[in-house]
Symmetry: C2
Subunit: 169 residues, 2 copies
């Protein structure tokens, strides 16, 4: 079966978000073992004008959710940025995965040439579906996902690339 817009997006988001949730579990458990306040991890940044871990995780879910919604021609569900704990971030990830599960191949496939318009930095921008997916949503998703991972590694959390990639098949 040819690569489809759905196969190139939704299952990947689901899998990588599941991996992120497990990485956050390891972070929580290791922080507890080392008597590190998990809030310290959530507020860690790699540089003062970069987003901290908490915001990186929120943005990772945002790029997955908005990509699936926009390709499917739906309003992007609004999610308030109110999390303050690892458990709350994991709940946000779960909610995102639920939304992705509810998004069906028939809603996403065939959207290669569909106009996707939304504001970037206040200005409306229009992509074709394919460019939006492979040239915008995916790089942004991986950007924030990897930065979240990198912040945890920088804090000494013992995870590896296998945790990031998850099961290979």
């Amino acid at each position: 079966m040819p690569l489809s817009m759905y196969q190139a997006s939704v299952p990947i988001f689901q899998k990588m978000l599941g991996n992120l949730s497990q990485i956050l579990d390891k972070a929580a458990s290791q922080a507890a073992g080392r008597k590190i306040d998990p809030t310290v991890l959530l507020n860690t940044r790699l540089y003062p004008d970069m987003f901290p871990l908490l915001r990186q995780v929120q943005l990772t879910t945002d790029f997955a959710r908005s990509c699936a919604a926009r390709l499917a021609g739906q309003e992007v569900p609004k999610v308030p940025d109110t999390e303050t704990t690892i458990d709350e971030l994991k709940a946000r990830i779960d909610k995102t995965v639920d939304f992705l599960k509810a998004t069906k191949p028939a809603q996403i496939d065939g959207t290669e040439a569909k106009d996707i318009t939304f504001p970037i930095g206040g200005n409306p921008m229009t992509f074709k579906g394919q460019s939006y997916l492979v040239g915008f949503a995916m790089p942004n998703f991986y950007f924030h996902l990897t930065t979240a991972y990198a912040i945890l590694r920088h804090c000494g959390v013992d995870v590896g690339k296998r945790d990031f990639l998850g099961a290979l098949s």
Copy 2:
């Protein structure tokens, strides 16, 4: 036109590697302006058991090159890991982009169900082309690319996500 294995891989690698090369230019120029030895940047790690910037850039090119070669059914071109300067890393990126330019859609398209076998951690692993691309090569590519960017940001290099993403269209 439906999303193809080529469109989901080669042009993305080319574009993101071009962005990385420009980010390295900014790093070199800013390091010179601040009298920072660029070698310090190249040897910076986010944690002692993580790879330094130099290796992250090498690996970013490796995942792009090996993905294009394997999908195209070619031997992965061997590239010695001998770089020690930003200019040499940029030359490695250029060489990778040249290889990607020489890889044509007809060599990559239709490889969704093709068996891709190669060793991971010493054990032979077989993927279907599509899983290999979206579930292995892409996440690995973005993992090392984003970590390279994150190391430079951590060093205070003044670049932003727009440099990472490049021109949007």
